[in-house]
Structure formats: structure tokens, C-alpha cells
């Protein structure tokens, strides 16, 4: 976590053009692009599926980091945006709308929900806010469970022929993959832009001391609401793609609280409040889980091992990998955003 002097230091040291010359950002995005293109080159579907899950996690973690890392508001129920985006887009897809309408619509729906909610619940601070987000997720699940147009408890299923519009199921899965890759890159870029902007500084000031930030001229209710909205849009679109690929959506899958908590863990692993942290955390966490799940030796103990490792990391490196590097080697602060 950066200190106040760190924040003040950045105020002086960041002329507008230098913002785009940060090697850490470009190297990070390039590395991710290379990882993302790996299954395209090798043509291996199994690798693609593994990396799909990772990119999904990166997009979610990077988005949530804007709220949790920069603003200091922990949203436990962030999966509500993932689920709502999924539902809105599946609804549109089942009505025959194309994917490029459905996915942005999912993002917009999540953004609108975040805007409305933000006005109300961002007045709560700390634990109260975290609890409220859990409540919202549960409320949304119960609502959808009883909402006829979205299929109620049976959910929405897509006919297999829908994939025919995108050149067959095989192509549709690739299409979903490219789209998630693009969204993951976009999420990182957005995260960086927010962090290096004046708006982002306002958010970090809120994180350090909300009252002081207000005194210094940050209009906190608006800043928090917009941070919430920005962190909700990409999860909405990612949810749309995930459920499009799955072919069906049900309330219990769309609003699964554990998924939210896993995203929080990823951010903490990589380093909250840093741009690269959530990427690293998501990659590491997903790689670990998918390795343990499919390894012949570990697969019966996978949850135990994952749990112990996470505990060790949280105990000994609470600032996360990138946070630890930044603290240990202050020079890295300029290249590891």
C-alpha cells in the first residue's frame, strides 16, 4: 500500500507524456498478449481453455482492483456484475440478438446497476460497505430466481444452433476467447489510465483518508460512484462471454459468492493497488488451481494445498507479490505500475 508521500511524489513526477512511457505497463501488456496468443499459434484447445479461465480472472481482478486497490472499498459481492451482465446478454442472445450487441449490453447493464447502487451504498464505509455488497448479490440472486422473463430458477439456455451464426461451435469458442483477451487487455489499460489520472489520485486520497480527501477538494461521493461504475462494466461484459461459451445460465452459477472471494484473493496475492499485481495474482492463482486439479498426484488434495499456500502468502507477503517488490526495491516503483 502506498504511503501519502508516495502519492505526493507521484504528483510531481508525472508529466503527461511520461505517463505513456512506462515500460512496466507495456511489457506487462505485451507479455499478456504473448500468453494470449500462445494457444492461437499452437492450436491447442485445452491450452486455450486454461488461458481463457486466466484471462477471465485477470479482467475481473483488474476491474475490482480499481475499487478495492485504489479506492480502498472492498466489494465482496462483485460477482453480481458478472452475473447480471451474463443474464442480460443471454436474454438478448436467446431473442436472436447478435453477440456484439449482447456483450456491450451486458456491460451497460452492469454499469447502470453500479451507478444506482453506488449512489446509495457507497455512503457506507469499511466493513459496512463490504457486507452491503454481499447483501446485494444475494438479493439479486433471489430476484432473478423468481423473475419469469429470465427463466426464473431454470435459467436461460441457448440452442446449439446459435453457434452456427459464428461459424460453428469451434469458431464461437475461439471468438469468445479473442474477445476475452481483448477485454483483459482493456481492463489493464483502464486500470493504468485510472491510476495515473487526477481522478485516480482522488481515489487514492480517499483510500488513505476519506475525510482529508474531502477537505482537499475531492468530491468523494461522485469519485467513489464512478470508480464503482468503471469497475463494474468489464465484469459485465466478461460474464456475457463466459455464459455465451457455456451455453446456459442459472442463478446459482451466475451469482456465486465464492467466485467473488477468489477474485479478492487474486488481488491480494498479486498486490492490491498496483496495475500489474492483479494480473500476476490472477495468473498465479489460476495456474495453481488448474495444475493441482489436473495433476495425478495432487488432484485429491488440491483444495488443501491451495488453502495452505494462500495462507502462507497472506501471512508473509500481505502486500502481494508486486507490492512486496515495490517496497523492497524502491527503484522498481517507477517501472512497476
Amino acid at each position: 500500500m502506498s504511503t501519502t508521500s508516495d502519492v505526493l511524489g507521484r504528483l510531481h513526477a508525472r508529466p503527461a507524456a511520461a505517463r505513456w512511457r512506462n515500460p512496466g505497463l507495456w511489457l506487462g501488456m505485451l507479455a499478456l498478449l504473448l500468453v494470449g496468443l500462445w494457444p492461437v499459434v499452437s492450436g491447442q484447445a485445452a491450452t486455450r481453455e486454461v488461458i481463457f479461465t486466466m484471462l477471465l480472472a485477470i479482467a475481473l481482478a483488474s476491474s475490482l482492483n480499481i475499487l478495492m486497490g485504489y479506492t480502498g472499498y472492498v466489494s465482496f459481492g462483485h460477482v453480481v456484475f458478472f452475473g447480471l451482465g451474463g443474464y442480460v446478454s443471454m436474454f438478448l442472445l436467446s431473442l436472436g440478438q447478435p453477440l456484439w450487441v449482447a456483450v456491450p449490453a451486458g456491460g451497460v447493464a452492469s454499469g447502470v446497476l453500479a451507478f444506482l447502487l453506488g449512489k446509495a451504498i457507497l455512503r457506507l464505509r469499511g466493513t459496512y460497505f463490504a457486507l452491503a455488497t454481499i447483501g446485494i448479490n444475494e438479493a439479486m440472486r433471489t430476484f432473478i430466481n423468481n423473475f419469469g422473463p429470465f427463466g426464473g430458477s431454470t435459467g436461460i439456455s441457448l440452442n446449439f444452433s446459435v453457434y452456427g451464426n459464428y461459424g460453428g461451435a469451434a469458431n464461437a469458442l475461439w471468438l469468445a476467447y479473442y474477445a476475452v483477451l481483448a477485454l483483459a487487455l482493456l481492463a489493464i489499460l483502464v486500470s493504468y489510465i485510472v491510476k495515473t489520472s487526477k481522478f485516480g489520485l482522488g481515489l487514492m486520497a480517499i483510500r488513505e483518508d476519506e475525510d482529508a480527501a474531502e477537505v482537499m477538494g475531492v468530491f468523494t461521493p461522485n469519485a467513489k460512484t464512478w470508480a464503482y461504475v468503471i469497475s463494474a462494466i468489464i465484469p459485465g461484459m466478461v460474464g456475457a462471454l463466459f455464459f455465451f461459451k457455456n451455453g446456459n445460465i442459472e442463478p446459482a452459477d451466475a451469482f456465486r459468492l465464492q467466485f467473488s472471494i477468489e477474485t479478492l484473493v487474486m488481488i491480494m496475492l498479486g498486490g492490491q493497488g498496483t496495475v500489474l499485481g492483479p494480473i500476476l495474482g490472477a495468473l498465479g492463482y489460476q495456474q495453481l488451481r488448474s495444475f493441482l486439479l489436473t495433476n495425478a498426484f495432487f488432484k485429491d488434495y488440491q483444495l488443501v494445498i491451495a488453502g495452505v499456500l494462500l495462507l502462507l502468502i497472506v501471512l508473509f507477503i500481505p502486500a502481494g507479490a508486486v507490492g512486496w517488490l515495490r517496497k523492497r526495491f524502491p527503484r522498481l516503483r517507477n517501472v512497476l505500475p
Partner: protein, 432 residues
């Protein structure tokens, strides 16, 4: 403290290296021993699936994969299946933990179909997970037998390679309406209360439509949230509607609580039929509240389908008898098999029969053999819909209904009461 941190970091870095190294190793193809042309060779067919080793579906899913393992062991012990070209095929299982949730089902099934080179796939347990797996099976051209997945809509999505072993949800409770018509043609009023969740809602919708088509009157049609423990409001509504019959329920927990509270309130109904809970042996622990409750089951140990019955129906008989299956399962796993276990076993039987008939492991040949499946097994009749509108839907298999009755020693025993040709006792009617 610093040194410790460095140590942990170094450990993590090493672990990371190991992980990436292992990731690279996985690309080596699985061993499919090539058969010698001209016959006499051996071949290993790989059956891929995920099981819920952890999470909420653990119990049912474990039984299901136990059943499948039993089938595989028995076939392999007998020397496998002989193909048309003289090759002998033995089977090998490849499976992963899906943690009872959908996140990784597609990832794992893609892995099974590509890296692990699975020849055939078996579904995970539950309709939701199977639905996600079916997309992958279809996309990679692998046959998938679904078991433990009753929802109908998976088969109405235009798949061509997915085959259902269970009786679909739409016919789960319809037998109780037929049974009622035979027992008491004068009973006309039905109340349907169900857990608000994909499977139970599907069953409830279907039985409502069926009851109305048979001229019954649905006086109450109401859902309750998963995890409900206090049914008083629902029971009050039932009381006001004064039905002859209560149908519905959901899963074990809510179903047994509902049965208990119906008994406590002394509702004056002639028949109570609940999903999932009554076939479970644990249901007897409710004592009085369990007495007379009926429930649909995919299979029961005492149901006795025989080769003679198959002959009478003009169907082919295949596989072990019910008692052979029960004793083999008990010997191996030291517990009485539930219908989930039987479902796992029968998924293997379906594949075995189709491979024998096709004389090949080729997807197209096995698929056409499956399309013409029409056989009787210890699990019951099996036949698939071949119309593209609902390809793979199970149309041969029927539910049996069990009822808890007072045995001669005063203890509760589970009897099969419907269909009458498989019944072990007459139905107790009216319950009170």
C-alpha cells in the same frame, strides 16, 4: 523475518517453475496402443469424465462414479470387448474433480477430449454441469452419455452426440398421476409445492401440465426457496386449498423437512409424493412422518427386471441382473447401491453395448448403434429419441415409485408400489 520472506519467495518461485514445467509436459499424447492390423491386437479406450470429489454434489457424484468404476472393472476382468476386426478393447478411466461447480467443467472436458484423447465421455453429476459439458462433447465430436442429469432442455438444443440414461424431469412425477387415477378415480384436487430450482421447477411444471391434461384440478402451485426450513406458510396455504394429493419437494433436506411438517400439522391428504428424498434410506429416520410417503426413483435394488420380461416385450436383454449388480457393488464398496450408482453403471453398459454392436470405436459407428438402442437392463428399459428436435432424450426408461410402509416387525420398509408389474407391495392408500 526478512530471511523468512526471502525463503518463502524462493520457494514460490521454485514452485512456479515446477508448475510451468508440468504444464509443458502435459502435451504428450495419452497412450492409445495401436492395434495390429488384421486383428488379435489390444486397444485401450479412454472414458473421460469429471466427478464432484468436493462440494455439495459430492455424495451423489461419488456413488455415480463408483458405479461406473464397477462396470469398467467387470468388463476389463472379462477380457474387454471384441471389435469386428478382432481387436480386444479394454477401458481406462480419466477423470478430474469439478468441485460441484461449473467454472472449470468446460476447461476439464476440453482437456479430456484433446490432451487426454478420451474416446468417450460420461457426464458430470447434475443437469447444470452436464449442460456445460455437452457443448464441449458436441464440439469435439465425442459421444457423451449423461447420467445423473434429468433436465430435458439439454436435449432440445440440437445436440447429436449426447445421450441420456435417466428418465427426464418431465416424466419424473407423471407416474404418480397415473397411479392416483388407478387407486382413486374420484380424487381430483392436487397441490404442487416445489423447491425453486432448475430441476424441481422443471418437474413441477411438467406434472402440472400432465395433471391438468388428465382432468385433475391443480388447486395450489407454489415454489419455495432452496434452503427453506419453516414450511408453515406453505402448509397453511395447502390447508386452505384442501387438496387430495400433495406433490412436489426438491432435494433431500427440504423434502424430508416438508414431510415432517406435513405430518406435524396433521394435514388431511390421501397421498403425498415428494422428489429425491423418499428413495434415500435415511428418509426412514423421520418415523411416522415417512409412513405412506411415495417418491419417484430411477431404480431400486428390489426392482426385478428379467430376461424373460425382455422377451415378452420383444426387447433385448443386456448386462447383469439387479441382484448380481447389488451384490457386486456391495462387495466392492461395502454399501447398498443407490440409483446414482446404478446410473453410473448403466452409462458404461450403454457404451459397451453400442461398441459391441458397432464393432468399432469410431464415433459415427457407435452413434448409430446408440440411436437404435432398445434394450432392457437391470436399470429398466433404455431407448433414445432420434428426432433432431430432442435427440438423445431418454424415452424408454420409466420411474418406479417407492412408498414407506409398515413392515411385519413394525419397522418401516421401502416398497415399490408402481408400476404394478414391478411392484413389491400394494400401495397404502389413502395415507390418512
Amino acid at each position: 523475518m526478512k530471511r523468512l520472506q526471502t525463503l518463502v519467495l524462493a520457494l514460490l518461485a521454485t514452485l512456479g517453475l515446477v508448475l510451468s514445467a508440468c504444464g509443458a509436459q502435459n502435451t504428450t499424447p495419452a497412450n492409445n496402443n495401436a492395434a495390429a492390423p488384421g486383428g488379435g491386437g489390444t486397444k485401450t479406450a479412454i472414458i473421460g469424465y469429471t466427478a464432484s470429489l468436493t462440494g455439495k454434489l459430492n455424495v451423489e457424484s461419488t456413488r455415480q462414479s463408483n458405479g461406473l468404476k464397477l462396470w469398467m472393472d467387470q468388463v476389463n476382468e472379462k477380457g474387454g470387448v471384441k471389435l469386428a476386426d478382432g481387436t480386444t478393447v479394454t477401458f481406462e478411466a480419466k477423470f478430474y474433480d469439478d468441485e460441484s461447480n461449473k467454472d472449470r467443467v468446460q476447461e476439464l472436458y476440453t482437456r479430456l477430449a484433446t490432451d487426454d484423447k478420451a474416446d468417450f465421455l460420461i457426464s458430470p453429476y447434475s443437469s447444470g454441469l452436464s449442460d456445460a459439458a455437452a457443448v464441449i462433447a458436441e464440439q469435439y465430436g465425442r459421444i457423451m452419455i449423461t447420467t445423473g442429469a434429468a433436465a430435458d432442455d439439454t436435449y432440445k438444443k440440437g445436440y447429436t452426440l449426447v445421450y441420456q440414461a435417466y428418465t427426464p424431469a418431465s416424466r419424473y412425477l407423471t407416474g404418480s398421476i397415473d397411479m392416483l387415477a388407478q387407486l382413486d378415480p374420484a380424487a381430483k384436487k392436487v397441490a404442487i409445492v416445489n423447491e425453486n430450482e432448475k430441476f424441481s421447477k422443471g418437474v413441477a411444471d411438467a406434472v402440472k401440465a400432465y395433471a391438468e391434461s388428465k382432468g385433475l384440478q391443480v388447486v395450489l402451485f407454489e415454489g419455495y426457496d432452496a434452503g427453506t426450513t419453516d414450511f408453515a406458510p406453505i402448509i397453511n396455504k395447502i390447508q386452505q386449498a384442501a387438496p387430495d394429493v400433495i406433490l412436489g419437494g426438491g432435494h433431500f433436506q427440504d423434502g424430508s423437512t416438508l414431510a415432517k411438517q406435513i405430518r406435524e400439522k396433521n394435514l388431511n391428504v390421501k397421498m403425498v409424493g415428494l422428489l429425491v428424498a423418499p428413495p434415500e434410506p435415511k428418509f426412514a429416520e423421520l418415523g411416522d412422518a415417512a409412513l405412506g410417503v411415495i417418491g419417484p426413483s430411477q431404480w431400486e435394488p428390489q426392482v426385478n427386471f428379467t430376461a424373460e420380461a425382455a422377451q415378452q416385450k420383444g426387447m433385448e436383454w443386456f448386462g447383469p441382473t439387479g441382484s448380481e449388480f447389488v451384490s457386486a457393488y456391495q462387495a466392492k464398496f461395502n454399501e447398498e447401491p443407490s440409483y446414482h450408482a446404478a446410473g453410473g453403471y448403466v452409462a458404461g453398459l450403454l457404451l459397451q453395448k453400442a461398441i459391441e454392436k458397432a464393432g468399432s470405436l469410431e464415433t459415427t459407428a457407435v452413434k448409430s448403434a446408440l440411436d437404435y438402442t432398445n434394450m432392457l437392463t437391470f436399470f429398466g428399459a433404455l431407448k433414445f429419441e432420434v428426432d433432431p428436435q430432442a435427440h438423445g432424450l431418454q424415452v424408454g426408461h420409466d420411474m418406479v415409485f417407492v412408498q414407506w410402509q409398515q413392515g411385519s416387525d413394525g419397522k418401516l420398509v421401502k416398497q415399490v408400489v408402481w408400476p404394478t408389474e414391478g411392484a413389491t407391495a400394494k400401495a397404502l392408500y389413502p395415507v390418512r
